[in-house]
């Protein structure tokens, strides 16, 4: 691996880099918003696990969590913030750059 590649690798966003959080970010990037149950089903995570990862992402303001009702059914809605979308795009770009450099 070249020096540039390892430098890029170290600059990867560590909050997103964790596999479960990367999965959450990928799904939320692909939709307008999704609720807790949908994310749990798509990511195949336990409630506790998903909760803690969502809290971590909310802490760094990559997503917003809001409570809403659809009829009588309560929804815990998650939506990426602009900062979160930018961070995900930056992460993808860095990863692409790293894998490109590494492959040479």
């Amino acid at each position: 691996m070249s020096g540039s590649g390892s430098k890029d690798l170290s600059s990867l966003d560590q909050v997103i880099h964790e596999p479960a959080r990367l999965m959450i970010m990928t799904i939320l990037y692909a939709v307008e918003e999704a609720d807790f149950v949908y994310l749990q089903r798509e990511c195949a995570l336990t409630q506790g696990n998903l909760s803690s990862h969502l809290s971590r992402l909310e802490q760094v303001r990559y997503l917003t969590i809001s409570k809403a009702f659809k009829g009588r059914y309560p929804l815990t809605m998650c939506r990426l913030t602009k900062k979160g979308r930018r961070a995900f795009e930056g992460y993808s770009a860095t990863l692409r750059r790293v894998t490109k450099v590494s492959a040479v």
């Binding site: 990928t26 692909a30 798509e42 059914y73």
Partner: protein, 238 residues
């Protein structure tokens, strides 16, 4: 060799198809077609008795309610059955609200949001064109069946409707082979068994009735499969 698909694209497509995963939209569309067909049967010439009026008026009202409130009816059913089981998601460009978000994003002059805005617009425009194409194709086919007294036109209509449905909806909703294969079979059935005395509007009503039955049956089967695969969890929220 096929290019590997992006995970984001896969997630986006899964989210787009998620709306149709429980079969409610197909089921309600089928119900609408059935109501319209029965309304046509009861209101066609030669049957204007007080009884036929008594039956056709509520059918017409029910059909209009299903037609204009289809989205609300589907949402009402989903709220009680789908969301507690498998959750809720709004794919990009699916809700009209997203256009509002997109328009607001214009003001920020932010590149990311601006790209999203054009993407959402494109999704909306693309869906509108495909749906318009499907509606025009289906309406022309039904009119053709009512006006053209040629039995082979039924078969051609079945094939055309099937192709139109597949082209218009393949990105979001994959119709089952029951529907895609069913329409040509309906056309063949009508060409073979429909008596000559059946007149224009009734021919359209027969097509609508069989189409409605296909949609309804497909919706019911999809719903049964969905309920079987996704039992209600004991605890749904964190």
């Amino acid at each position: 060799m096929l290019a590997p698909r992006s995970t984001v694209l896969t997630a986006r497509q899964r989210a787009s198809r998620y709306f149709f995963v429980d079969g409610f939209s197909t089921l309600i569309a089928g119900l609408g077609c059935l109501l319209m067909a029965f309304q046509l049967f009861y209101s066609s010439d030669g049957r204007t008795t007080p009884f036929s009026l008594l039956v056709s008026l509520p059918l017409l009202l029910a059909y209009l309610a299903v037609m204009f409130r289809q989205r609300e009816i589907v949402e009402w059913l989903k709220t009680r059955i789908t969301y507690p089981r498998t959750g809720f998601a709004i794919p990009p460009g699916f809700e009209d609200d997203s256009v509002v978000h997109a328009d607001l994003a214009l003001l920020t002059l932010d590149e990311t949001e601006s790209n999203r805005r054009s993407e959402v617009r494109q999704v909306h425009a693309d869906r509108k064109h495909r749906m318009l194409f499907m509606i025009v194709a289906v309406l022309l086919t039904i009119l053709g069946i009512m006006l053209i007294p040629n039995r082979w036109f039924y078969v051609a209509s079945g094939v055309l409707i099937s192709a139109g449905l597949w082209i218009a909806t393949r990105r979001e909703q994959e119709f089952s082979w029951l529907i895609l294969g069913g329409f040509p079979l309906v056309g063949i059935g009508m060409a073979t068994f429909l008596p000559d005395r059946v007149l224009g509007p009734d021919r359209g009503a027969y097509l609508l009735a069989t189409a409605g039955s296909l949609f309804f049956l497909d919706g019911v089967l999809t719903l049964i499969r969905y309920l079987h695969r996704n039992p209600l969890p004991k605890q749904t929220q964190s």
